[in-house]
Amino acid sequence: MNLAFDIVLGLALLLTALGVFSSKDLFRAVVMFIAFGLLLALVWVRLDAPDLALAEAAIGAGLTGVLMIDAVAHLSANTLQNDQRDDQYDHSPKRPLWLPVISCVGLFVLLLGAIRFRPEASVSLPDMVRDNIAESGVEHPITAVLLNFRSYDTLLEIAVLLVAVVVAMALKPAAEDRVHQPPPAHDPILHGLTARLLPAMLLVGMYVLWAGSYMPGGAFQGGAILAAALVFLQLAGFAVDRYAASLLRLGLALGFLVFLTVAVSVMIGGRPFLTYPEGFAGQLIFFIEAMLTLSIGLILFSLFSQNPPHSGAVGHQGANHDQ
């Protein structure tokens, strides 16, 4: 039964991906992609990785999907002006076949061989994680890896997020391009939905963050949920990005600031970079995670909201076209 479930799930995943790749209609490809994210979350569950399922449900099926839909909407809104009615269809040319075919077949054979002839590993990190988890300050092994054993990776990863935001801010169109956007229409249904869903989202976000120290959950998943809540608010017509403009920058960097400060301050006491003082590891990790949740939420949200104007600014958009 288990295996049958997995086989059907895997095939469905593959079919969905094929749907994304082969669909001529861009919007269909994007909806298929959202479905792909959802199936992938189920696959992570079957792989005993509920943390990844959480992240995939929030990021893959949620945020990335919204970003993609927004981008497709942007494309169709702008092509309309150029009087191309079948805006969602892809008329772009294709490259010659030989390179795709070679790379596809080559990768397939290479990877199958790699799986087939894989040697047995002599080092076992799971054992080491288990032996050292008592010292890490948290009970959940994935949180222990992310924020203690391999916290340096996490620090750099937050830097990656920050870089993306800096570039987004740099590429944001100048202020005069944005003021002409019509005020968002008041939508009673959406408003009611927001009023009911938003508190639940924030609550779940906090719960996921808090749960992270002893069970699946943590800063990334919590941050992704927070970001989703903010995106929701923005879509519902609240101009979140404008309210938060002054605090945004601090909020963006807060997690990184706290993380780096904690990491460096222990060095003054002569301990290595990124260690936690004995006995305080648990509390510090939770504190850092809370700040990271806030930061990640704001960063992911600004990656969504800093996009160039979209369909809302149809009339003005023409000015940007130099063709």
Binding site: M1, V8, A35, V45, P50, Q88
Partner: protein, 99 residues
């Protein structure tokens, strides 16, 4: 106990099959709203699968995943309504798709 597991697995398997039916709906469309609605149902079924799997696999953490999925699945829908709906672009035509 084993029988209960099997029953839960069976339930999730059946839900998985309906999920695949939803996949076909997304593929066939024919217009964007149909696809989006099918994706929405897809999310709901996903929540169901997660809840049954939580019982079958004895993993209570999956209930959290289901919760998150239930909350976030609406976002794509809202984005679709706000960003792609016809009233935003008055001249916009519904693309016809030949299934």
């Amino acid at each position: 106990m084993i029988e209960a597991h099997t029953a839960w697995y069976l339930a999730s398997f059946v839900l998985l099959l309906t999920l695949i039916a939803g996949l076909l709906r997304i593929w066939h469309g024919p217009n964007p709203a149909d696809r989006m609605l099918a994706a929405q149902l897809f999310g709901t079924t996903g929540v169901g699968i997660l809840l049954t799997l939580a019982q079958a696999m004895q993993m209570p953490a999956l209930n959290d995943v289901a919760l998150v999925l239930a909350l976030l699945a609406t976002i794509a829908m809202v984005a679709f309504v706000k960003r792609m709906s016809p009233q935003q672009g008055p001249t916009k035509s519904q693309p016809e798709d030949q299934p």
